[in-house]
């Protein structure tokens, strides 16, 4: 910048004001400055600027991309929205463990992000405190905190009723009575809600929730396979499975296939999370489709609003997934039109 000032024969103050349009400057000198910028190939130093003004125009993202592939789409939506609002995104992975979560936040903090989007681990309290101490705006994504106990913005999807709907469909439309669930990682908020939804769906339809097997299929394909093994080894194995997320679904279908089973024949399945290709490949999966795009867009909106007005009351946004009835649940081959 001092180069520019020298070439344009003005002070750095004026250069700064030209760049930021922060006060009137004589058209002639403005031109001189712009020419000098061009000539020197000057590009502003965001680091120095950030240090001075105290804001980096940067948003931090902390979540695990490993256990939930659908987060990929969320990241894109987040990036797109942040960019369109003039913010840049910094990426960190929490691995869904409290330790890595804290480490990720420390990184974000040291980069002085203006706000954080976090998919909280099972024990996120320390993480919340870390951010609160520094007064860094925070919005939770995917996992909404247990109701209103914490004063934090959040956006997530409904889990309870949607999973109950999945179960109800299995029972009412297809007559299943022995239903099992392969649930995501233990402790995570969405897991709890989805299991609760599973039990609710059973109960409502006259089945005993306590008799229905639930296995945590964790995040790896191996864990899913093991969980499925245990379930199929039961004296009276289930005839239908509720699959708790994306990854579990793929691993389960793969393992069933090895055993010569293709839903709905031999085993019915319904899944949380949809796939863009679920409509075209067989088995055509019956799913609860999450509005992943909206999740990302709303998260950034909430965060920017909070940055602008730190004293807003906390808002919890819950989005509704859409039920995609296809064939893995045992539907007839005639296609049921998707909701959208």
């Amino acid at each position: 910048m001092s180069d520019v000032a020298r070439v344009a024969k003005v002070s750095t103050t004026t250069v700064s004001h030209v760049i930021n349009k922060s006060r009137k400057v004589n058209p002639a000198t403005e031109k001189a400055v712009r020419d000098a910028i061009e000539a020197t190939g000057y590009a502003a130093d965001g680091i120095a600027r950030s240090l001075r003004i105290g804001s980096t125009h940067t948003l931090g993202l902390a979540m695990t991309a490993i256990s939930n592939p659908y987060f990929g789409d969320v990241v894109h939506a987040l990036e797109r929205t942040a960019t369109s609002e003039g913010y840049t995104l910094i990426l960190t992975d929490t691995h869904d463990t409290p330790e890595r979560e804290q480490r990720a936040l420390r990184v974000l903090l040291s980069h002085r992000v203006d706000g954080v989007v976090l998919a909280p681990s099972a024990v996120p309290e320390h993480a919340y405190a870390q951010l609160a101490k520094r007064k860094v705006p925070l919005v939770l994504i995917d996992r909404v905190p247990e109701d209103a106990q914490v004063n934090i913005d959040a956006v997530g999807v409904e889990n309870l009723e949607p999973v109950a709907t999945l179960v109800e469909h299995l029972v009412v439309t297809h007559g299943h009575t022995r239903i099992g669930m392969l649930a995501p990682k233990d402790g995570i908020f969405t897991t709890k809600e989805r299991i609760a939804g599973f039990r609710l769906g059973l109960e409502r339809n006259g089945l005993d929730p306590d008799a229905a097997p639930v296995e945590h299929a964790g995040e790896s394909a191996e864990q899913t396979t093991a969980a499925l093994d245990r379930m199929l080894a039961l004296p009276e194995p289930p005839t239908a499975l509720v699959l708790g997320n994306n990854l579990i679904t793929v691993a389960t279908i793969a393992e069933l296939r090895k055993r010569g089973i293709t839903p709905p024949r031999g085993m019915a399945t319904v899944s949380f999370d949809d796939f863009p290709w679920a409509d075209s490949f067989q088995p055509r999966l019956t799913t609860m489709s999450q509005p992943v795009e909206d999740l990302g867009v709303i998260a950034v909106q909430l965060l920017l609003e909070r940055i602008a007005s730190p004293d807003l009351e906390a808002r919890h946004v819950r989005l509704a997934p859409t039920f995609q009835v296809r064939e893995s649940c045992g539907c007839p081959p005639e296609r049921v039109a998707p909701d959208i």
Copy 2:
């Protein structure tokens, strides 16, 4: 930091040295400093530090996540590797256009990233110059520049021979003579190579490359559908299709399905890019599987090496994809074991 110094009754110099272990300090005072850090909840300001030392320990990522879903996995590999080396990742989207590419790099530059991983657009020269002027280390990913013309590190996969292999399989093993290609976005380097591979495969097997239809299916499902329409409307439509990437494959299978066609019946297909679920769902796609993980890991390695030694000669790493013979190409239902 001055808070810490006051509490510990030392100078900020000492605090700095304690934090960075940059010189010997008396164990007693060190303890005092650490206690003070704890007490004040101090966290270092990376921005100020960066300004001072001239390095941000930050890597910039510029690519389009929209046109190539497989980039999601690359991002994860990149993030993982960068983190394990103590770097943080900043994400920007190029939308595969030169304009957005330059804008993305400007953002990265203003954040003073220590290096950039770029999936170059069709006309990346200006982008290269932008980085070179500021002497910011750069590594190209996915798209390796036309041979050795530019002095830039790059990591990508082989395209020519692998696509030729795909074509050969169609011709030799399954007897196809009318083969078409749905190619990715025009102008991109990988697209050129994949088309060249298509023509090479045809030629080698006694077919006329100039008679074989090639349509650019671009990045949207609509464009793919339109391209497929044109191809099927030909007087002598192809009996087999080479699908140029991930997205094109999904959109094509979906559109074929609407027409009642499920490969290999009615149309054989082979694809560039694999899917984790391709083994379990039908049609079971025959693909060239890219080593996406390695792509990300190697990109970061190359970049860090260049940051450490700016005067290294440029290296171009080409990874080999693996041929996954499954069923969409017309194979018998007996399963062919995947390579890995």
